[in-house]
């Protein structure tokens, strides 16, 4: 009879030796790696301590001579320290704008960092490409629109995501069509990134968005939503027109955007009309917009929807909570009502009393 154990017996010692060797290799690997990682960390800490004051001087420079002097303080740095200096320069830019960005860009250009980052856009490792794209975006480098747009087609999702982020920082409305095309890219929260990038482009992008929507009516709903995010009041007319569109998704997105932009008299009447829409999402967005308008005269209309579908009723109740005294009057009148209307009215009254910041204080 063939026995596995016989076969195994012959190879047992060999197998053991191989396992011991692997153990030794892994043990050495983990210890060496630990040591190297610790060394790398202490080097980074040392370089940060060394260059942080000079980088701070660059970012806080108020006049060109101050900036020149600050950059001169960084120029003797050896080439192998440039990577760390670049990281120090761009880190504060994630939350800064204005003069620190201009100063960081000037310093990066003079130190050769911009040329280095542009070259790194073609690197073999995706993380180097992605870091370079993000760095170029953060310093708002000039003349990099084309290579960044090309990165939107990169096979690696992280690189595409970094390109979207960088394009948002650059603030060039010319990239809007490419960004909207990137919205169909389902990988790595690309949609959220595109929304964020377009938000960052600000109200100036409204014209490009509306033009895009005219050429590609399929994108109407998302364009309407984006206009709301950018706060582009110049597109209000288009939004009002879209609030009567045949597709309920477009109507709801347009009303959501109108709510974010704020209501003038005309928009107010369009929104009131939308409260009677056949689609639940459209009515809900209309209720939300009326709440944000803080116009007390909308309260009786909203109160009629406390018994509507849950989504509409919840938005109407929240809106009433935000409408000051007139909203409160309607809520009080309905707090004993049976079913959802009564429950929502009681909850909103409670929230007004216990959390003034939720609407109770605003009249």
């Amino acid at each position: 009879m063939f026995l596995l154990s016989d076969l195994f017996r012959d190879y047992l010692i060999l197998f053991l030796e191989a396992s011991f060797a692997s153990l030794g290799v892994l043990f050495a690997y983990v210890l060496i790696r630990h040591g190297v990682a610790n060394l790398r960390e202490s080097r980074e800490t040392r370089l940060r301590t060394l260059y942080q004051p000079a980088v701070d001087a660059v970012l806080s420079a108020q006049t060109p001579p101050q900036l020149d002097a600050a950059i001169a303080g960084l120029q003797p740095a050896p080439a192998r320290h440039l990577g760390e200096i670049g990281r120090l320069l761009i880190t504060p830019l994630r939350v800064a704008s204005g003069s620190p960005v201009v100063s960081a860009r000037a310093a990066a250009a003079r130190l050769g960092l911009i040329a280095r980052w542009i070259a790194e856009l073609d690197a073999h490792q995706w993380w180097i490409q992605a870091d370079a794209a993000r760095a170029l975006g953060l310093v708002r480098a000039e003349g990099v629109l084309k290579p960044l747009l090309a990165l939107l087609e990169d096979p690696h999702e992280e690189v595409r995501a970094a390109a979207v982020e960088a394009l948002g920082h650059l603030g060039d409305p010319g990239c809007v069509p490419a960004l909207l095309r990137a919205m169909t890219d389902a990988s790595r929260h690309q949609r959220a990134r595109v929304v964020e990038a377009i938000r960052e482009l600000g109200p100036s992008v409204a014209h490009a968005l509306v033009t895009h929507a005219r050429v590609r009516p399929d994108d109407l709903a998302i364009v309407a939503e984006l206009i709301g995010f950018t706060g582009a009041a110049s597109a209000a007319d288009d939004l009002l027109a879209w609030s009567g569109h045949g597709d309920p998704k477009v109507r709801a997105a347009a009303l959501q955007a109108i709510g974010s932009l704020g209501l003038d008299d005309r928009a107010y009447y369009y929104t009131l009309r939308a409260l009677g829409d056949s689609d639940e999402a459209v009515r809900a967005m209309a209720a939300r917009a009326l709440g944000r308008s803080r116009r007390g005269e909308a309260a009786p209309y909203l109160a009629q929807h406390l018994g509507d579908d849950w989504l509409v009723a919840a938005h109407a109740a929240t809106a009433l909570r935000m409408l000051g005294k007139s909203g409160e009057r309607e809520l009080v009148a309905r707090q004993e009502a049976p079913g959802l209307a009564g429950v929502l009215a009681r909850q909103m009254l409670w929230e007004r009393r216990s959390r003034p910041e939720a609407g109770g204080g605003a009249a």
Binding site: M1, L3, L4, S5, F8, R9, L12, I13, F15, L16, S19, F20, S22, L23, L26, F27, Y29, V30, L31, R33, H34, A37, T91, R94, W126, W127, R134, E158, E165, A186, S187, R188, H189, Q190, R191, A192, R193, V195, E196, R199, F229, W310, A314, L340, V343, L344, R346, Q347, W350, S354, R355, E357, A358
Partner: protein, 469 residues
């Protein structure tokens, strides 16, 4: 008669040998797969870069649901840590599952809870909800007080009360890192097909905890807890990373998992008849989506960290392992027609058979192996030297797998910064082969026996509380 007995003994020995080779090789393959996955993952977005995404209005709100049963020692500290989470839109729903101690009273005092009228749909059936409280000091804190119905029932009540599209199900004693929620939500933004995301569970025992945050990571002083550090690293960094990469993740740990609320409701919520409700929900979601032939993803992410207190006494650890084993059998029993069924793809053909063979019946085969080896020695079928070599090989192979897990930790997250802690972890990988491994096997066998006898229940977990560390 005697020759037949010997023949059976030999055949069994072959089987145990094959099993030993298969299980350890599968662990090694998982470790190698995890190595490449983690190396890629390491270069993904850093926390700071994630922040800008999280501020986006496209980011969905999350309801964090923590069931609490007799958690008076840790309730305030745990909830405080949850309220510190760095996330733009979230609420914390603590469900008091009919605690007999001062859980509710302590939470009421600490967070100024007042009873509030709330519009709560009862989509999922649960034990009676007595009241819903909201905090006057923390607008995003809600406490649901209900009659006792078990962990799954409490979670279902929390899911009913949740207002946001994503629900994060955790244990009341879990400490989430401030960025954990942000990281766990990313797969949902990334792909609308994502149904659930699990994060890594790490052992908090021995670590320094200040104001609800882990400020210094250390290996615990207690030996029972120490062994579990290596176990958790192995299970999460090697096992779950690899299973997730293959699309065959069967457990999103109950200590920390994020789901789309609507999908949980569609699936019927958590099953309160099982004690393995976290695995059951995951397997049920696989089942539903595969039957509907819809694309979906259940993902494990190695970086959203949830710290949890593990048992420090053998008795309580034994109860826990016994419970896990019974839960595993229950889940496999519920979904037995998925096992080996090609209709369920990799889940039916690989993941479930793996759990049946190596997790459910593994302990029985392992103990049988010891018995057979003794028998084979007695009848002279193998000699002592061979038995010794076999044991040595099992130790070396086991150590190799533990060491591989430590390597995975070192290449990815480097939580254990001190060289002494690292050496301790490696040492634990060796020592656990002499006693601890056999002990867990024994507890799991007892669990199997209890399952066959039809024993239910959770057993108690005595918590010492983070603040005292």
């Amino acid at each position: 008669m005697r020759s037949a007995f010997i023949w059976i003994l030999l055949a069994f020995e072959q089987m145990v040998l094959l099993y030993f080779l298969a299980i350890n090789t599968s662990y090694l393959v998982c470790s190698v797969l995890a190595f490449f996955t983690l190396r890629q993952h390491r270069h993904r977005w850093t926390t700071r870069e994630l922040e800008s995404i999280v501020q986006s209005p496209a980011t969905p709100g999350v309801s964090v649901i923590a069931p609490a049963y007799n958690e008076q020692a840790t309730i305030v500290e745990s909830m405080r840590s949850l309220l510190l989470l760095n996330y733009p839109q979230f609420e914390v729903i603590c469900v008091n599952d009919g605690s007999k101690d001062e859980t509710l009273a302590r939470a009421t005092a600490a967070f100024d809870l007042v009873e509030a009228p709330m519009a709560v749909g009862s989509v999922l059936e649960t034990a009676k909800v007595r009241a819903i409280y909201r905090s006057l000091t923390h607008a995003e804190f809600v406490m649901v007080d209900k009659e006792n119905g078990g962990r799954a029932d409490a979670l279902n009540a929390g899911i009913n009360a949740a207002r946001y599209p994503l629900v994060c199900l955790i244990d009341a004693d879990s400490l989430l890192e401030p960025t954990a929620l942000t990281q766990a939500v990313l797969p949902f933004l990334e792909s609308p097909e994502t149904l659930g995301v699990g994060g890594i569970i790490r052992v908090v025992n021995g670590c320094k905890v200040e104001a609800g945050r882990v400020t210094e990571v250390r290996v615990p002083g207690n030996w029972v807890a120490r062994f579990q550090v290596v176990e958790y690293l192995r299970a999460f960094l090697a096992g779950r990373v690899a299973h997730s990469a293959m699309g065959a993740l069967l457990i999103i740990s109950g200590a920390f998992g994020v789901y789309r609320r609507q999908d949980v409701l569609d699936a019927g919520g958590l099953e309160h008849k099982t004690i393995g409700e976290d695995m059951e929900l995951c397997v049920r979601m696989h089942r539903i989506m595969r039957e509907r032939k819809q694309p979906y993803r259940l993902v494990f992410l190695p970086d959203p960290v949830c710290w949890t207190e593990v048992p420090e006494s053998r008795k309580i650890l034994g109860n826990q392992r016994n419970r896990w084993q019974r839960g595993l059998f229950q889940v496999l029993g519920y979904h037995r027609n998925m096992i080996g069924n090609p209709r369920y793809g990799i889940v039916g053909l690989l993941a479930l058979p793996y759990y049946v063979l190596f997790e459910a019946f593994g302990p029985i085969i392992e103990i049988s192996g010891y018995v057979v080896t003794v028998g084979a020695l007695y009848y002279g079928l193998i000699n002592w030297r061979y038995a010794e070599l076999m044991f040595l090989l099992s130790v070396v192979y086991g150590t190799l797998i533990s060491l591989a897990a430590v390597v995975l930790e070192e290449i990815s997250y480097r939580r254990y910064r001190r060289a002494t802690d690292l050496l301790m972890l490696i040492g634990l990988g060796v020592i656990e082969n002499f006693g601890f491994r056999q002990l867990t096997t024994w507890w799991r066998i007892k669990g199997t026996y209890d399952f066959l006898r039809g024993k239910g229940g959770w057993g108690a977990m005595v918590r010492t509380g983070f603040s005292t560390k």
